[in-house]
Subunit: 277 residues, 2 copies
């Protein structure tokens, strides 16, 4: 059976999502804990919606994996797998990971390729009067930022475009993505939240886009610079990649069950070999 | 001149507000940093509105201190003290303390005794689907809580009462306080926030009140137990003191300038020798 797990984590103490030898990663923590509570001989293989970098957080990460329908729990009585996971997984995980929900998913559900869009939020403070309780998931920036200029600069980036100029270079895969939302906003408490939604993202794309906007907001760049840079079609050395800990994967959206497979086929065809979904 | 500093801090890595030998406290960090940026021969003496315990956070702590009007900054030019502090103090403080504002205050302003009320919020999760980004300032509780029962239990505690049954015992001072608000509320994301406002608090009073409410919310106590316990007039061993890191001092309210002195005299008369304001 296919299982969908919705997950939140504080990325501070993880070396990102993807399993790596001798590193504490979210994927290895989740897979090893599932193997432990279900007494599996080896860890299951999970696929996630957004392979977050080291330090990046998630409130709405989505994962799928395949498991047998029934498990043998410690007390000897057989139990449906979903029910067993719901009971034991949350309390077996370390306290920087929290299960939001565990459900059986249709066989066509693919956490990565069925996704319609991913929504990230980047949080930063440009004033000394920041809230220190947010400092694990926000960045303090030492110059004040003009949010109106950032909003103006963001508008022309929306739509289907090649974002190669705002990605860390990789050899394979396309960098053509549909950017649906790029909205800087100042909260009543002074924090700036930049919401970034796209069908999918290239490597470091959110942090590069935010870096570009911050350059405009600080007045180092003209409002039109971002578009010029995007259209140049190549990555410049002067695009700032913002620090990871300001970034949180907030939400992943999927189509209704009957369109899961169609969507996955579409996404695979367009982004096959793409290094980062 | 008298100076008012509004301060926020992440209490995780502090041994509370009050200066103690060989401990990292908020008071010693603030006073030592002020002495450093103003090049004072010894640290100034600060008075705060709420002497938070080890691990308790603040978004709205208020402090006063007295300093000379003019300072000699490093570059040789004399500068008004408030202006110098605004420029240098925020960047000299460690990143778990944030200055919200620095202003000259009337001579009658007393951060502790002029305060009309203090508002604290206690944050906790009673479901496995908690948000791990809030775990530095909220508590996960392993049983589900009935917020309606907690609200009902809280109502009869409001008003002018002797809270000795909900305080850690001290030899001196009165434990009579006016409780203005005790409101448990469940947020849309599932977190429970308990807002507690009073003219002033005895030692551990918020954490004991929340402990009492949690006992009711879990169904261990009858809704009327809290009132019975309050009226018993003595501290029972079975009142749970909730963990410090769920508690944040959110706001302190003062009267208009012309009533500062009158208020301070009132408060001093009623709570003289009181161990905790």
């Amino acid at each position: 059976m296919r299982i969908r797990i919705d997950l939140a984590y504080d990325g501070t103490d993880f070396s990102g999502w993807a399993r790596q030898p001798a590193r504490r990663t979210v994927q290895s923590t989740l897979e090893d804990t599932i193997a432990q509570v279900l007494r599996l001989p080896k860890h299951p293989a999970t696929i996630c919606a957004g392979r977050t970098d080291a330090g990046v957080h998630a409130r709405g990460q989505v994962v799928h994996l395949d498991l047998d329908d029934m498990i043998q729990p410690p007390r000897g009585e057989s139990l449906p797998t979903v029910e067993g996971l719901r009971r034991w997984l949350p309390r077996a995980l370390p306290d920087d990971v929290a299960v939001q929900s565990i459900d059986e998913a249709p066989p066509a559900f693919d956490a990565r390729f069925s996704a319609l869009k991913r929504r990230y939020v980047y949080r930063l403070w440009d004033c000394p009067a920041f809230d220190p309780l947010t400092r694990r998931f926000s960045v303090t920036y030492p110059h004040s930022l003009n949010v109106e200029a950032m909003t103006e600069a963001a508008q022309p980036l929306l739509g289907l475009r090649d974002f190669v100029a705002f990605c860390k270079p990789k050899d394979t895969g396309t960098s053509i993505r549909t950017l649906m939302e790029l909205s800087p906003q100042r909260n009543p408490n002074g924090m700036i939240e930049i919401t970034v939604t796209a069908d999918a993202f290239c490597h470091s794309m959110v942090r590069c886009l935010v870096g570009g906007l911050v350059g405009v907001g600080r007045g180092l760049r003209d409002v039109t610079w971002i578009t010029t840079h995007l259209n140049s079609g190549r990555r410049a050395n002067d695009v700032v990649v913002m620090p990871a800990h300001g970034l949180t994967l907030e939400e992943v959206t999927y189509p209704p069950s009957e369109h899961l497979e169609e969507r996955a086929n579409q996404a695979k065809a367009r982004r096959d070999e793409s290094p980062q979904s």
